[in-house]
């Protein structure tokens, strides 16, 4: 389980005068949970958006399982095997939970306009498979009983789960979760934690941005720390916790 899944080299991103990311490199190994932490504004979500093709980068490149990603088009990134969730949940609010997950299957299915109009055998078989897989995934994340409800009617925790199910529907190699525990109470966080542990057991690689340090330290195999757009540490959780640069980034230096 030690092959490199994702390798990012020299990622740079500038917004006007702000250098949001400066020469960030990191490697994520297959099957691990990789944490990305850092103070507010450190560039965590920006890095996510670069990885998933939503922001154009200024420099650097990203390889997934040995092939360079076409970072110019998000759907190509999804097709290559990176799926993500959003910090401020972005579901298709007026579609049902099941439909949301079915949309996730889009990138792995083929039926076009003519198949749909003629209702060909291939189209019907594929459509049934999409539905079946979407139901399985809703079951997997534990909200199958809400399948027929509109996404907007789901509770906050269930919306997070639905977003994960939609991401899983794209058959990702790497699942990127952007602050999945934000705004969750202790019970919801515990349930989320067991869900992510289950993902790892099933062989998925997870990239996790999180503010809940306890969650990150308890869950992740390795953690990287960003501060002002630079990676200041990358190691196992215990080592990161003891790293003086990390402590300084979070708490500041002592007033000498």
């Amino acid at each position: 389980m030690n092959t490199v899944l994702l390798e990012a080299r020299g990622i740079g991103k500038r917004f006007g005068g702000v250098q949001a990311l400066k020469d960030v490199s990191l490697t994520i190994k297959s099957g691990e949970i990789y944490g990305l932490i850092g103070p507010n504004g450190a560039g965590k979500t920006t890095l996510f958006n670069v990885f998933t093709g939503l922001y154009p980068r200024d420099s650097g490149e990203v390889q997934l399982a040995g092939t360079a990603l076409d970072l110019a088009s998000p759907h190509a990134v999804a097709a290559a095997g990176i799926a993500r969730t959003f910090q401020n949940i972005r579901l298709f609010a007026n579609m049902t939970a099941l439909e949301n997950v079915m949309v996730g299957r889009h990138v792995r299915t083929r039926a076009g306009v003519f198949g749909a109009i003629l209702r060909t055998r291939a189209e019907r078989t594929e459509e049934a498979a999409i539905r079946r897989r979407a139901e399985e995934l809703l079951h997997y994340v534990g909200i199958v009983d809400r399948a027929g409800d509109l996404a907007r009617q789901l509770s906050y925790g269930d919306q997070r789960r639905l977003e994960i199910a939609r991401a899983l529907a794209t058959d990702p190699k790497l699942l990127a979760l952007d602050e999945p525990a934000a705004g969750m109470n202790a019970t919801e966080t515990a349930a989320l934690r067991s869900l992510i542990e289950g993902l790892r057991r099933d062989g998925l690689t997870v990239l996790l941005i999180e503010h809940d340090v306890k969650l990150v330290m308890g869950l992740c195999d390795r953690v990287a720390v960003l501060d002002y757009g630079e990676k200041i540490a990358e190691d196992v959780p215990e080592a990161v916790r003891a790293n003086p640069k990390v402590i300084e980034a979070y708490l500041g230096t002592s007033a000498a």
């Binding site: 998933t52 093709g53 939503l54 088009s73 998000p74 759907h75 999804a78 097709a79 799926a83 993500r84 959003f86 972005r90 579901l91 298709f92 609010a93 007026n94 579609m95 439909e99 079915m102 949309v103 996730g104 299957r105 889009h106 990138v107 792995r108 299915t109 039926a111 076009g112 306009v113 198949g115 749909a116 109009i117 209702r119 189209e123 594929e126 459509e127 999409i130 509109l150 907007r152 939609r166 991401a167 529907a169 794209t170």
Partner: protein, 349 residues
């Protein structure tokens, strides 16, 4: 389907088949009015794909109607001396309109909402102005004079501009067109419904709901949007071909901005995204003005002995009032799509 539903469908079918003869007894004009209403239903269903499903506000939709109509006019009139049969021209018209849809769609892919509306509005006007001016140096469209003497439909010995009597029934030209339009409508409804429940239909709605999330979920938003424009445009093109044949004459002034707005109003009034709502909206906005036209004048003459308000003025008044009232009391349309209705009611709460 339950026996009751089946019975209901049979009843509707019988009513629709008998309808033109009932109307014809009130005057052939009413059959023509019905035909134009069905034509507008076709247009609205096409626009509904773009506006209702994919959420792309298109104010230049009449351009595709114009393209279809001119393709028919050029290929079946003395203008170029071409007289191709309609079953060849209608698919050509749909294809040309479809290509026009992609050409319009391509530069607007990054635009949304108001900006998209402005660009599409401009495109609609450009097409009309082209039709108006492409009469020199090569006389392609015959300019503002339009193209005359367009061939009617001809199926074997059946000429759609003449009457045929079979037994006790007289099939006038408009009645034949009515049946053809009914058939076409059925096909378009089936296509719409199937698209709505398909992988492509879900992708359209996903883009309407959240374009960024749709991208991140692996939808090629560029292609899927172009597909919406192309599908909507080909319906518009087909309706345009029918229009040219029924009318026997096309000129640029049939394709003004007002027509685009009228079709959009039908979609919005009926209920964006819901096929049945859109059909109801198109029927309502087609028939009510005609009813007024035929009733206002006699009523006024009977009451006051003279004409006080011109029916045309009243028509626009009623039209405007209907839209204002709809927006006030049923903002999602008379018969909204379930998803849309929930969205709107939440916003009002």
């Amino acid at each position: 389907m339950s026996a009751r539903e089946k019975f209901g469908l049979v009843l509707i079918a019988v009513a629709l088949i008998a309808l033109p003869f009932v109307l014809a007894s009130a005057g052939t004009a009413w059959v023509r009015i019905t035909n134009f209403a069905v034509l507008f239903v076709l247009l609205s269903l096409g626009l509904n794909i773009v506006v209702g499903f994919a959420g792309l506000l298109d104010l230049g939709y009449v351009a595709f109607f114009a393209v279809g109509a001119y393709v028919y006019a050029l290929l079946a009139s003395p203008h170029f001396g071409l007289h191709l049969p309609f079953w060849v021209i209608l698919p050509i018209g749909a294809t040309v309109a479809c290509i026009a849809g992609v050409i319009l769609g391509a530069p607007t892919l990054r635009l949304r909402g108001d900006y998209l509306a402005i660009v599409t509005l401009g495109f609609g006007e450009i097409v009309r102005i082209f039709m108006n001016n492409l009469s020199s140096p090569v006389n392609l469209t015959n300019g503002p004079k339009g193209i005359n003497r367009i061939d009617p439909f001809q199926i074997g010995p059946l000429n759609f501009s003449a009457s045929d009597t079979i037994g006790a029934l007289t099939f006038s030209g408009p009645i034949k067109y009515y049946y053809f339009l009914l058939l076409l409508l059925l096909v378009v409804i089936v296509i719409n419904r199937r698209l709505q429940d398909s992988r492509i239909g879900r992708a359209w709605v996903a883009i309407r709901e959240d374009e960024i999330a749709a991208k991140a979920s692996g939808i090629n938003t560029r292609n899927i949007k172009l597909l919406a424009f192309a599908m909507g445009a080909s319906f518009g093109g087909t309706a345009g071909g029918m229009f040219a044949a029924i009318q026997g004459f096309v000129s640029p002034e049939s394709f003004v901005l007002n027509e685009s707005i009228m079709v959009l109003a039908m979609v919005v009034l009926g209920g964006m995204g819901n096929i049945w709502g859109v059909i109801a909206g198109a029927m309502l906005l087609s028939f009510v003005p005609e009813l007024l036209r035929y009733t206002v004048e006699p009523v006024q003459r009977a009451l006051f002995g003279k004409l006080l308000v011109d029916p045309e003025v009243l028509r626009m008044l009623v039209f405007g009032a209907a839209l204002v009232l709809t927006m006030r009391f049923r903002p999602a349309g008379l018969w909204p799509e379930t998803r849309h209705r929930r969205e709107m009611s939440e916003n009002r709460a």
